[in-house]
Symmetry: C2
Subunit: 272 residues, 2 copies
């Protein structure tokens, strides 16, 4: 998917919501466990109930990998379902991969070709030749970890290099990589005040913002400091939406939570 | 596996060789492509021919993931074969994973419980709460990326924070994590001169050293600066061994290459 198509979808749906499919057999409604593929059944119900309220879905690959082959089959079915039934949806493999050159190409093929995701999250620690193989794919997007929303972010990401935090150094350095027009960045919403400075470095790139809701970030604050004329934001919510209820009404409850966020996003978009 | 068992195995086999199973259908002998599971057939032949010359195998997970479900099945068969037939072998999932708390626990379960690897490689960018979930597993080992052997390592890993390179900061910080006795570190052999300084920070931990051979590092140099009284080194070779020949003699050719390295390692161990 091109960036322009994503922007058009955001405008059409009046939403820049991304729903995280962190599907956990211990948390989904018990009734689903009788189904042949409970993970896919859960995802399908959530997707069918919320697709008109969001522009992106983000399966966190760890949740699927933890179930072995069964998990990978559920992931394949989920991404195929999205690509066939809702091709207007932007898909994110939240995999946080990263390895050297020829190995990164393998991961890129796994997510961009074999599974046909629109984008994948990548860790920056190994630098240029671990990121550029992903950027070489046309109309695919690489979402680089910059500033994450967890406590451990302060271990390294905010340390100063030549008077500037490591995550800013990541933003500046990655902006020079070949194919950097295909870059987006992960920026945790618990640090909305950092967004002004981030926008000075990457004024146009999309930011994937986790941590609104469950992790404590404010949507209004994030939009105030992070939104661009082309929106430039995807706001993710996972548990707050998909586990809104663990009863038979789980899909309807997820829809209500997604609709709440979509309504708030509509208000923010009208400020543009 | 405990660290002591690994050390005992190194002394018994006079080898601290790790063989990287970066199995690529485009590089394995054509004759194997007729088999039901060419990836597993190749791995099995390599393992049977070399297990007495090495102490560890390291499948690079990207190579399996790139083949989708088929790749994951081959990986499961490979690790099961190793655990059943050669339980004395130390197994490394070269996955370079890393995510926040509850998600890291998912990855840890995938590799330590579901697949039953002895260790997994992890990227440090997200800090403490992305690493500690792995360290909580008894007799399992977490191999943290410190200084990698690729060109991109200079993008961030060698940048100075308070006058000290980021990778040293990673070593020092991770040494304070809960369960740090289960930590090993990836240190690229193309920078053997850095090992003296690394040993000042982590005098005892095992270092996994890729890049000897194909990537240009010298075994003697690495041992001179990196070896400890308990050895403290696992030296990896992947393509140099497993693709020594692409003819019918591929397993025998791999055995010869592994035996060459084992003989060099024996000489280094006698210097202790």
């Amino acid at each position: 998917m091109t960036t322009q198509t994503l922007i058009d979808q955001i405008r059409k749906k009046e939403s820049f919501l991304c729903i995280g499919l962190d599907t956990d057999l211990d948390k989904i409604p018990k009734a689903l466990l009788k189904e042949e593929d409970p993970i896919f059944s859960f995802n399908k119900a959530i997707i069918d109930a919320t697709h008109h309220l969001c522009v992106a879905y983000k399966p966190n690959i760890a949740f699927y990998e933890a179930y072995g082959i069964k998990g990978w089959i559920a992931l394949e079915k989920t991404i195929s379902y999205l690509n066939e039934k809702y091709p207007e949806i932007f898909t994110i493999a939240d995999a946080k991969r990263g390895d050297i050159g020829n190995t990164s190409t393998r991961y890129a093929k796994a997510f961009f070709e074999d599974l046909n995701f629109d984008s994948v999250t990548i860790a920056p620690y190994m630098g240029k030749d671990s990121v550029e193989p992903f950027l070489a794919f046309e109309d695919k997007h690489t979402i680089l970890l910059a500033l994450t929303s967890n406590e451990g972010a302060f271990d390294f990401q905010t340390k100063l290099i030549d008077g500037e935090e490591l995550y800013k150094h990541v933003l500046k350095t990655a902006s020079l990589y070949k194919g950097s027009e295909n870059l987006m960045y992960v920026v945790g919403a618990t640090k909305a005040e950092y967004l002004t400075e981030i926008r000075k470095i990457v004024p146009h790139n999309f930011l994937l913002v986790p941590g609104v809701g469950a992790q404590g970030g404010s949507l209004t604050e994030v939009c105030k400091y992070g939104m661009t004329p082309n929106i430039g934001l995807l706001i993710n919510s996972s548990r707050g939406i998909i586990y809104a209820s663990n009863g038979e009404d789980f899909a309807k409850a997820a829809q209500h939570k997604a609709a709440d966020l979509q309504q708030q996003m509509k208000v923010e978009l009208e400020k543009l």
